[in-house]
């Protein structure tokens, strides 16, 4: 009963399909089951836990993992969705992240995109119930750990890659009883200056 499966494995191992020969757009419709992802993500979080000494370090690790994903997402989604266009303005990059990236990653657009009025370099993307935290409950002794630091890392990879360097962090904000997750994006001053110049 297991033999045909093993034979199949051995036969397909010899077919060394190189990554450049595989079609790219077929994967656009691929969806991964939430439980598979959540299981993998929980293992990632626990794996990181054994290698850190403090909560900020923990968030940093998750963020770094997201970073390399973000850099790739930027190029891949531009190829698939935007038909060879590149973002040159801050607000269009942010709306690209808020709509296209969120939709492709989580199945729906982010709930809100806001600018903090007091600071000219801070923007927030809000999500009522961010997918990665769906099955995560943080005990009190872990303080302010937010595993959405992983998503913050993805966003950081995207903005860095597009030459809009920023510090991106994930925070919990209380809203209507439940905890809302906010991704805070603080751009470097030269980005704001350049954007002012280009949009004036």
């Amino acid at each position: 009963n297991k033999l045909p499966f093993l034979v199949h494995c051995v036969l397909t191992m010899n077919k060394n399909v190189n990554i450049v020969d595989r079609p790219l757009t077929k994967g656009a419709k691929n969806e991964v089951s939430l439980s598979a992802f959540s299981y993998l993500f929980s293992e990632i979080v626990q794996y990181s836990q054994s290698r850190i000494n403090s909560v900020p370090d923990w968030e940093r690790r998750l963020s770094d993992l997201g970073y390399s994903i973000g850099a790739r997402i930027l190029e891949l989604y531009s190829l698939r969705e935007k038909n060879l266009k590149r973002e040159t303005k801050l607000i269009s990059l942010l709306s690209f992240i808020h709509s296209t990236v969120w939709k492709l990653l989580f199945g729906k657009q982010a709930d809100s995109l806001e600018k903090i009025t007091e600071e000219e370099d801070e923007y927030m993307i809000g999500d009522q119930s961010i997918l990665v935290n769906k099955f995560i409950s943080v005990p009190k002794d872990f303080g302010a750990l937010n595993c959405a630091a992983f998503v913050a890392g993805i966003v950081e990879g995207i903005v860095d890659g597009a030459e809009f360097p920023a510090r991106v962090t994930a925070h919990f904000t209380p809203a209507d009883g439940s905890q809302r997750t906010t991704i805070l994006i603080k751009f470097k001053p030269e980005v704001i200056e350049r954007d002012k110049r280009l949009t004036s």
Partner: protein, 166 residues
């Protein structure tokens, strides 16, 4: 002196009509290739030949000059990048009779081509196809971003594209 180099190369039938490089975020080349389509060669050889980047010494001389030309155009590319939101930037600079075309991806990877013939459509499609190959390389989680692309499969594919479009 540059004209002399080019004429020496032409006499030896070794002009390199197309030089293609991919430049990373720190102005570091991560991929380079030269496509010399040997119409001047005799019929015994393959009618279309693309030479790998390490060859005879004359080709190496021309080779480093071409790279120098392309790198000197990087400043112009940096400026043009913020003026347009399409990836294909068309001809950004000239060198003698040659043109330098550029294509900059979302992640600001610069694809540059040094060419003598102006064929916008072919070049645009070439860039688009190479970009797709580049994204496939990117998807390998073990590929370090901004590092040289050493995949021979990528190299073979790029050369096939050059044959297809040029």
């Amino acid at each position: 002196e540059r004209k002399k180099y080019l004429s020496i190369l032409k006499r030896r039938g070794m002009t390199t009509p197309y030089t293609f490089i991919i430049v990373g975020k720190n102005d570091n080349p991560i991929y380079e290739a030269e496509f010399s389509l040997g119409q001047k060669r005799d019929s015994n050889l393959q009618s279309i030949q693309t030479t790998p980047s390490s060859s005879s010494s004359y080709q190496t001389q021309g080779h480093s000059l071409n790279q120098f030309i392309l790198h000197s155009a990087l400043d112009v590319v940096e400026e043009s990048v913020w003026k347009s939101n399409s990836m294909y930037l068309k001809v950004v600079d000239r060198y003698g009779k040659s043109f330098i075309s550029s294509f900059v991806s979302s992640g600001h990877m610069k694809f540059m081509l040094l060419h003598d013939k102006k064929d916008e459509d072919a070049i645009k499609n070439f860039f688009a196809d190479v970009f797709e190959l580049y994204v496939k390389i990117l998807l390998n989680p073990f590929y370090v971003l901004n590092s040289p692309i050493s995949s021979s499969a990528f190299d073979i594919r790029v050369r096939k594209l050059a044959v297809k479009y040029f």
